[in-house]
Amino acid sequence: MRSVLIGLFLLMMCSCKREKLPPIDDNVDLDGNRIQDSSLINPSGFLLSVAIPNPSSSYLNKKVVITAHGFSATNFEWQEFTSWAKAKPDLILSRVLLGGHGRDYIDFQKATWQDWQQPIIDEYNKLMSMGYTNISLIGSSTGCALILEMLSEHRINTTALRNVFLIDPIIVPSNKILPLAPVIGGWAIEYVTTDLTTAENGYWYKYRPHEALKQLDKLTRRVRKQMEKGIELPSGIALTVFKSEKDDAADPISAALISKGIKGSVVNIIQSDIHVFTRLKGRSAFTIDDIKRQTDAFQMIYDQL
């Protein structure tokens, strides 16, 4: 009797039809095949290496900041910093779109964390080979984990690197079920749906395939272990962390892991409950204090360059 019941249960499990593809609305969702990140259509509006292929010496003396956005996001995440930086004549931003991002669901599903990382390395290498000598990297959320991994594995020549800024880095996810993604992904879940505001729609992936969650889990585990071993920053490079004290995506303990793993790093705990507090545009609600925290952080970053 028992074996019959087990057999019936297994049959039931197998016969359960799971939807492999989410209900993407091509007209609204970034996950569809009509909307994509603007940097794919107009790279010169985002990447310094494309915008100015032959920089003059006056350009080469400027302070360059390469931005890297977070998991499932796009360059939209750094739009406010770009607008803020326009008033600073000695500062130029180069906004990198992570690999597998800003395209469609299938591209996101196929990409590995190495694919996400490669465009940051490529842009840094191009700018350095062009002759820029004052380059800084700034990441938000997963962008931070990718930058830390790069530094730990010496994936770039850091001669031109001056500063690293990490906004709400994720090493320990707030959702502690993420480590289960490799176990339950593919049979119990195919994708996770995220609530986006109307203004965020089209700039973030709404549906996060289990393959991408597995990659995020792999990356965060890897960086955690790198922090446990420790990273020695080359002299002349400053690393500054800004971490919201309450964060439903990147556990604030992530900042403590970086502080332990990278001697000399500076941590600023921000009295905010917003994940990536430097991006307010598109959020359903934020306060005057949130705006102040955002602009204060921009100013602190600029002052340090």
Binding site: L180, D251, L257
Partner: protein
Amino acid sequence: MKSKTRIYLMCVLSCLFLKNSAQGDTSIIINGGVIMNKMLGFYWLNGITAEMSSQRVFKGKLDLGLNVYTSSAGSAFLSNAIPVHAFEVYGQKRFRGQKKLNPLVCINLGFAKAFYGNTIFDRLPQSAFLLAPEFGLGYKIASKVNARLSLNYNVFSGNGVEGGGFIYPICLRFKLLFQLKG
């Protein structure tokens, strides 16, 4: 008093309490040994464990025990991982007591504290209450040696907004116990 000292003082007091309770009790059985915990997706935390059963306590049908474990003897040993110290008391029911293989259910109650090593993190949660049901299997390797493998679920894990971020919900646990008395 430092939190670390408090945790270990609680452990010593619990041992003394067990020792006093055990005086004059001939039916008492005491097991002691090592405990290894792997939080799924996070640290190894290792330490020591002890448990007792007696005819005077629930007619010998329930084991009472304590676990003391730390990442300093696991992931944080000679590394930059965050030291986490934990203390638990537990009640445990083993089934098929006379057989080699014993299924077991257990409820753990305790306290854990992390040491971030910098006052800048004082505003973050640094301690956590532990409440964890546990399910597993025990195996009698020899007449006085038992191995246990179990899965426990921390009810109060951190979610970035509340609770200690160093507590993950799912934890794989291994114990090797030697019969010390009885």
